[in-house]
Symmetry: C2
Subunit: 116 residues, 2 copies
């Protein structure tokens, strides 16, 4: 039978990666659930917060659930709002920032090996 | 540079698969965007509508954005609401139904070869 979780009942964990400020993660679907190919995580970035400006071998597929912010990289900065879908390709430099007054909330799907 | 789309600006297409009623799809991120591993789609199921009751070789990872409904399979029926995350494993029978008065809206991520 399919596995169903309520995201609000999953405890958020603070992200301590260098260059990160005010970011938490909820692991919604991971290898532990039996997912073989990709993992779904929910991130919250507090006002003024940001993810690290970095690049890596895996892609991101992101969907913004709430708040306002931006994604920036070598090509500039683009605004994000509820309903924005984002593809970050492998090795693209990127950083998510909250530019609003409410938490910036987004889903981020990655290959299963990148969900560390 | 990362690719950003507004989901509301992507035209929905009706789903005509047998056993489907009142379902549309927006392809947010697909192979055409350069995604190599998985695709992100946004589904809307109208009140009273449903996806086909079927099974297939690929998994689904789903996140409910709005509305109320259920997923049913051989193991019974489970309610869905905003914030529900669902993992449907390969070959699990499943059907999504809208049991509410508003559209049931969810993201569904699948391996890229299954995004047909």
């Amino acid at each position: 039978m399919a596995k169903v979780k309520k995201s609000a009942e999953i405890s958020p964990k603070d992200v301590h990666m260098p260059g990160t400020q005010g970011v938490s993660i909820r692991r919604l679907i991971s290898q532990q659930d039996g997912a073989a190919n990709f993992a779904m995580r929910l991130f919250q970035v507090q006002p003024g917060g940001h993810t690290p400006r970095h690049r890596h071998a895996h892609e991101h597929e992101v969907y913004v659930l709430g708040g306002k912010g931006s994604i920036s990289g070598t090509g500039g900065e683009m605004p994000l709002e509820t309903g924005s879908a984002v593809l970050v390709l492998p090795q693209e430099e990127h950083q998510f920032r909250n530019s609003g007054c409410e938490p910036l909330v987004f889903l981020c799907v990655v290959p299963i090996g990148a969900d560390v």
